[in-house]
């Protein structure tokens, strides 16, 4: 009976160690490398935020948009501003005041609705509630107020003319 040819000249112990090592497809050094890469990615992401690569809804600009000819007190109307992909809501308050906000909830981007009887803006997804007077959060998980839209009333209707940027920096 002939003996099989020897495939390797490595020492048997070293060959065994190599075989054991090859069983571990991801080494602990690899885990460290992966974590370093994630760390660098998080730094890059934060830098991208600081550089303003992500658009803020309240900084968007658009052409004037006709919201409605008229809105009755206590009623609301939907429109799209500043682009046709940005839903918004205009509300005629009981005292006659007219306000408008982006209707994208600042929590998880559900569409908020005007709750006439309760006189507030509600997000049906997670029970977020907003004040119709200034868009601030009254209750629920939303972290920020609703972006406000500037309206102008003219003879022929109500127009959205811009976003109201409200910064907490430098406020008295």
């Amino acid at each position: 009976m002939s003996q099989r040819p020897v495939r390797t000249e490595r020492a048997p112990v070293q060959a065994m160690l190599d075989r054991i090592r090859e069983d571990a497809s991801v080494t602990r050094r690899d885990y460290l490398r992966i974590l370093v890469t994630i760390s660098g990615g998080l730094l890059a992401g934060t830098a991208a935020v600081a550089l303003g690569l992500f658009g803020r809804r309240d900084e968007a600009t658009g052409a004037e948009v006709l919201v409605a000819r008229e809105v009755a007190p206590g009623e609301s109307v939907r429109f799209w501003y500043p682009s046709e992909e940005d839903p918004a809501i205009a509300i005629r308050l009981a005292d006659g005041g007219l306000v408008a906000y982006s209707s994208v909830c600042t929590h998880l981007s559900c569409t908020v609705l005007w709750n006439g009887p309760a006189a507030r803006i509600d997000c049906p997804c997670h029970d977020g509630r907003f004040d119709p007077l200034d868009g601030r959060v009254l209750a629920g998980p939303p972290p920020r107020p609703l972006p406000k839209i500037e309206l102008v009333e003219r003879q022929d209707g109500i127009y959205a003319v811009g976003m109201v940027v409200e910064s907490s920096v430098g406020e008295p």
């Binding site: 099989r4 602990r28 050094r29 460290l32 974590l35 998080l42 730094l43 992500f54 910064s167």
Partner: protein, 90 residues
Amino acid sequence: MESRRTRGGLPPVSNTGPGLGAGHERDPERATTLHARIAIVAVIVVGQLWGLTVALDRYFEHESVAPLIAFEALSFLVVLAVWLAAPGEH
């Protein structure tokens, strides 16, 4: 005395399951050092994730993100230092 036949320099496989030496650290000190470094880096990365969420929130509220950038950069440098100082490959 009967000699065992070998295949390619390795002892013949007589049992299924993990091979010789499996499940045992060959260099416990090195392994402990690596585990500790992975734990430290993982905690820092979790902190960076938190920093990114705070940075996003501050950005959308028109507040300064500079302190968060500094925090993230410092965290990354620490992670880099821990990685570079870790034991190398065998």
